[in-house]
């Protein structure tokens, strides 16, 4: 463990991860960079911080950057880690918007973009299946997830209402069962 790198080093390591983690699966890149290469945190801490990142709103990669940056160098470390993580991708996507303004109307470019949109649906479906495989452990989980999806996709319910409404039921359900198990012991 080498828990006190300079702020510049924190920024640089996250900038490199932000620039090289192409094609999703950013969690794998984070583990390789933070645990294996830099040895800033061990595997146990990585899993712990990842579970916080996945529970809270926000992108996993930026949440991880904030949590690890904070552990290494406090608030400034968290800010620099998150910025480093985001700057390469955000710069490229800003450039893409300007390029789109210049050439986005061409029929060949449109055909290309429509093609990658279809491919991206395949990718997000795969991500969904992976997320589900980790999370869904009982019938009630499928009912809760199905309710949230149906409200948002078919009934036009705004996401925050679905999140708070179904989320409250879900937390109550899992909390109720937990208390019953404890009481039964």
């Amino acid at each position: 463990m080498n828990p006190s790198p300079t702020l510049w080093r924190v920024f640089w390591v996250f900038l490199v991860m932000g620039a090289t983690s192409i094609g999703g699966g950013v969690v794998g890149y984070l583990r390789a960079g933070l645990v294996a290469r830099e040895r800033w945190i061990d595997d146990h801490a990585f899993v712990e911080l990842l579970s916080i990142s996945q529970t809270l709103p926000g992108l996993n990669a930026t949440n991880m950057a904030i949590l690890v940056g904070d552990r290494l160098r406090g608030a400034p470390g968290a800010v620099l880690a998150a910025l480093g993580m985001c700057l390469p991708g955000a710069s490229l996507m800003t450039a893409a918007a300007f390029a789109y303004g210049v050439g986005g109307d061409g029929p060949v470019v449109k055909a290309f973009l429509h093609g990658i949109a279809a491919g991206a649906v395949g990718l997000v479906t795969m991500v969904l299946v992976q997320l589900g495989a980790k999370t869904m452990r009982e019938l009630a989980d499928y009912g809760l997830a199905g309710a949230a999806a149906a409200l948002v996709a078919f009934m036009g319910v705004p996401v925050p209402y679905a999140l708070i409404g179904v989320g409250a039921v879900a937390i109550w359900w899992h909390g109720r069962r937990r208390r019953r198990n404890t009481a039964g012991k």
């Binding site: 950013v26 990142s53 926000g58 429509h114 990658i116 795969m126 999806a149 996401v159 679905a162």
Partner: protein, 175 residues
């Protein structure tokens, strides 16, 4: 100035909905940027989102594209910062608290409950994205093929997505 405030407001709000990943906020992203503010069309949004899957780093850096599309470089910066700040502060605060809450009875209930809801919200996002992107049988076939390839192999997703674009171009040129 009013427009920058609107961009900041929209992305700060969307930021708080990204439970389980950026896809969970996609229905609201579409609603606000396309239907409410008319900043761009649904196909344009789908194009930026898909390009964003090819960019390195977190998978929602396309918020900078939407900001830039509406208000140039300043718009991109405002969108990015607004999108990072609310959840960033929340994560920072909870990150310091959460380890101390290791034995808090509700912690596991919150993790498991929100986990299931997150899957549902992401599914909702995928359905809405699919409705916009899979307009013909060919595109449906492309999505199914990419999904199958990614489930069965360890290939970097950037390659099949680029190939999807090439198939789109080939279909256009042959039609």
């Amino acid at each position: 100035m009013k427009q920058l405030l609107e961009i900041g407001g929209v992305f700060a709000y969307l930021s708080l909905l990204t439970v389980g990943g950026g896809m969970a906020a996609f229905p609201e992203l579409k609603d606000l940027t396309v239907d409410v503010h008319h900043w761009l069309t649904f196909p344009e949004l789908l194009h930026y989102y898909s390009l964003g899957q090819l960019a390195p780093g977190p998978n929602m850096m396309m918020v900078a594209s939407v900001g830039a599309h509406v208000a140039g470089l300043t718009g991109a910066a405002v969108a990015l910062i607004a999108f990072l700040l609310p959840t960033g502060l929340l994560t920072f605060a909870v990150g310091r608290l959460w380890t101390r809450l290791a034995n808090w009875p509700w912690r596991e209930a919150i993790e498991r409950g929100l986990g299931a809801v997150a899957v549902g919200l992401v599914l909702g996002g995928v359905i809405i994205m699919g409705k916009g992107a899979l307009t013909q049988p060919l595109y449906f076939a492309i999505a199914a093929a990419v999904f199958g390839l990614l489930i069965l192999t360890k290939v970097n997703p950037a390659w099949p997505i680029l190939a999807s674009g090439a198939i789109g171009v080939a279909a256009h040129l042959l039609a």
